[in-house]
């Protein structure tokens, strides 16, 4: 493997590992905040305990998120030094802001964790969740603008191989930013709701019966319903953005080769790359035109308008399809659950429903991976679309392979230990015991 391949491999590995923790890091504070507020507002200690238990697990995932975030931050410079020397004075600003936002979050998280009983008015402690939520979401916003900039760079003049006359704000608020930021945020909240519901549903499947678990599932499924709708709407916004500003990325995901209207939406299938024919796919007539332009006659640009060396790899089609499928699954589960809950209260917690909720946890995390792989692989061969190719950006240092294995070992260690610690945390201290210890018997 060449240095470029190793560099790509290491970046993919770090991002794939980091994004799981980053997503939870962005989303879970929102749910902690809601739970703590409900606990105070309804004087329901179940919700207060929920906030406590989630926060306890959360801090462990935050630790892994922090260290892997530091890794990716420095690896940007170690693996892609030519990209950073080209674009450092543009992306430096949002990266700097991201660090500030995270710093802000970290300070208040530190305070939050150690002041449960410090304040007379419980709302004071709840107020501490706001800067945590704000900091976490703001850091997601800033870092996503960097990624957006790599997709639709603007706000500079390209002169003699360097970026001059930089307008840092125009660069940050590039065309890709709104849909990408919205999609990242809503999917992070959605995924976190499903991960938390998964823990409660899993406990119920294991035979735990306390009302605590039901409340947790109800809360997370209600939030999940709203966010699933939102995420799908924003996904639609992203497709329209792609069609307008980055058509080759959408065309690669849809195996759409010839520019034209009434383009069908292709789901699944097998592509013959030579004839550009697709076999065995589900074809929705006009689907792509509707998705991309909200008009069945809308013209969608095809891949053949681009030189073949500028095409993204065509396997992104499957990533895109799988992500969308999971997205609809994550909508169906809360809809079904809430319908069941309305019709017959107890029946909502049957084994199949619980199993479907449990499956939503890993599936939603998997959809995050699929989405990011689509976002990153779909930008290939560019690192800065139209200006610099990935192959021109990589380090010339020949030892990237060694670094790759070093980090692979690190992530394996962190992943395993983190799972063990989390499992022990929740298993050794089930909610019933804590309820009893805190004298909450309802």
């Amino acid at each position: 493997m060449s240095t470029v391949d190793w560099s790509r491999g290491l970046t993919e590995m770090t991002l794939a590992f980091h994004i799981l923790f980053a997503t939870i890091g962005v989303g879970v504070p929102v749910l902690i905040s809601i739970a703590e507020w409900l606990g105070i507002y309804r004087k329901d200690p179940h919700y207060s305990l929920m906030a406590r238990r989630w926060a306890r697990g959360f801090v462990i995932t935050v630790a892994v998120g922090v260290v892997t975030g530091t890794c990716i931050g420095l690896q940007l410079n170690l693996l892609w030094p030519e990209f950073m020397s080209l674009a450092g004075n543009v992306v430096g600003l949002p990266l700097f802001m991201e660090t500030f936002a995270f710093f802000f979050e970290a300070i208040f998280l530190g305070i939050y964790l150690y002041t449960w009983n410090r304040f007379k008015n419980p709302f004071t402690h709840w107020l501490l969740t706001l800067p945590i939520v704000l900091g976490a979401s703001a850091s997601a916003l800033f870092i996503t603008t960097v990624n957006s900039f790599m997709n639709t760079p603007q706000g500079f003049t390209f002169e003699n191989g360097s970026l001059v006359d930089v307008d840092p704000l125009a660069a940050m608020f590039n065309p890709a930013a709104p849909s990408k930021v919205a999609h990242v945020l809503s999917s992070a909240y959605l995924t976190s709701a499903f991960v938390l519901a998964m823990i409660a549903a899993f406990s119920m499947l294991k035979g735990r019966k306390d009302e605590y678990y039901r409340k947790s599932i109800r809360l997370n499924m209600t939030v999940g319903l709203v966010l699933a709708v939102l995420t799908i709407l924003i996904g639609d916004m992203s497709a329209q953005f792609l069609a307008a500003h980055q058509p080759e990325k959408l065309a690669a995901a849809e195996w759409h080769f010839e520019t034209g209207g009434r383009a069908p939406l292709i789901v699944g299938g097998v592509l013959d790359p030579d004839t550009q024919q697709v076999r065995g796919a589900l074809e929705l007539p006009w689907g792509l035109s509707l998705l991309a332009t909200h008009n069945p006659d809308g013209v969608v640009i095809g891949l053949n308008d681009y030189p073949q060396e500028d095409w993204p790899p065509l396997y992104v089609h499957y990533l895109f399809d799988a992500m969308v499928t999971i997205g609809f699954y994550l909508l169906a589960v809360p809809v079904l659950f809430l319908l069941l809950l309305r019709s017959r209260r107890e029946g909502a917690y049957n084994r199949w429903m619980l199993a479907a909720i449990v499956a939503g946890g890993p599936l939603s995390l998997f959809a995050i991976e699929l989405g990011w792989f689509y976002a990153e692989v779909g930008r290939q061969p560019w690192i800065l679309r139209g200006y610099m190719r990935v192959s021109e950006a990589a380090t010339t240092n020949p030892h990237v392979g060694a670094a790759f294995w070093m980090f692979a070992a690190l992530y394996a260690l962190l992943g395993i230990v983190c799972l063990v610690v989390l499992a022990r945390l929740f298993r050794n201290k089930p909610a019933e015991l804590e309820l009893e210890a805190r004298r909450i018997i309802l």
Partner: protein
């Protein structure tokens, strides 16, 4: 003051912040592990854990600020340092990752585990050693430039006296700063036994710090005469550093005013660190890169400074709140509020 000087001044201040905060953290990890080894864990551990628990996350961020800002202000540093530091940088990252996450695992996980503490203690000494090598490399002579290709001369680095003098200084400084702070913290907690132990560490830690900083000067003279001669222009800063050290050592020796003693330790390192930094300018990397070398981009530079000021206005009150709740709250420090 040019935008470049302002930029490097801001970044250097972040690095100074990291030097102090991280040293406390790194040293504390070492002392916690050492305490378990000599069977005095019960004395030191509570003090260390009460201080570290709420602040450990904050430490890393100072370092991230520094390198993110450095590349933002001086993008060409990515070309030189990014390429050359792949392996040492990766090693430091792996150590930092193990340290940060294992602290959380040990602290918030359900079970106490000796291995976590060992990893936490050992990385506390290895990380400063590996990070300090970057200062060594910045003096020049360890990076070969062949056209667009950049190579780090590992053998030269390994056999260089200057390099080892810097490593020694880094490790002893960490232990000294940390023990001076923990002595102050123990004194506030009125924990006599922990205080006495930390006081001993501080007194003994001060001696190698001073000796190794002399080593560094001598080795720098052999390695980079130009820089050495420039440090002489700022002799008064290093003089003030020494005076601060003597003051701190005196107070700790006489068991008086540990708070003031720690402030003096901070001043000692501030004078030395800024003295070193100013005399290093305009070079970011001898002799290839100066702060004026990169293509300057006034708009980005101004935006970065503006964000820095705005961010600082947000962070300082938050940090003050954090410190009032945990550092300067006597009841918390004594362990009555956990």
């Amino acid at each position: 003051m040019s935008i470049e000087q302002l930029g490097i001044g801001v970044l250097w201040s972040f690095l100074y912040g990291y030097l102090i905060v991280a040293s406390i953290d790194f040293g504390a990890g070492f002392y916690a592990y050492y305490g378990r080894l000599i069977g005095q864990e019960s004395i030191i551990a509570p003090v260390i854990s009460r201080y570290l628990s709420p602040v450990w996350e904050v430490t890393n961020v100072f370092l991230v600020f520094f390198f993110v800002g450095l590349v933002g202000f001086f993008p060409e540093t990515a070309h030189y340092y990014g390429t050359a530091l792949l392996i040492p940088g990766s090693i430091a990252l792996v150590l930092l990752s193990i340290r940060g996450s294992f602290y959380a695992f040990a602290n918030y996980g359900a079970k106490k585990n000796s291995f976590y503490l060992f990893a936490y203690g050992m990385t506390g000494l290895l990380i400063p050693a590996s990070l300090a090598t970057v200062f060594t490399i910045s003096e020049g002579g360890f990076i070969a430039v062949h056209g667009a290709r950049i190579e780090l001369l590992m053998a030269e680095l390994f056999y260089s006296t200057y390099s080892w003098a810097v490593v020694l200084l880094a490790m002893s400084s960490v232990l000294f700063i940390s023990s001076a702070f923990l002595a102050y913290y123990a004194a506030r907690a009125r924990d006599e036994r922990a205080l006495e132990l930390m006081r001993q560490f501080a007194l003994w830690g001060g001696v190698p710090t001073i000796i190794s900083s002399l080593f560094v000067f001598i080795a720098l003279r052999n390695h980079n005469l130009e820089h050495f001669e420039r440090t002489l222009n700022f002799w008064w800063m290093f003089g003030l550093s020494l005076i601060s050290f003597l003051g701190a050592a005196w107070l700790i020796w006489r068991r008086q005013q540990y708070g003031l003693a720690f402030v003096l330790v901070m001043l000692q390192f501030a004078f030395a660190f800024y003295g070193y930094g100013i005399s290093h300018l305009p070079y970011l990397l001898y002799p290839h890169l100066t702060i004026y070398g990169s293509v300057t981009n006034p708009a980005s530079g101004r935006a970065l400074v503006a964000v820095f000021v705005a961010g600082f206005a947000l962070l300082v009150p938050s940090l003050v709140l954090l410190m009032r709740l945990f550092l300067f709250n006597v009841r918390y420090v004594k362990g009555e509020l956990s």
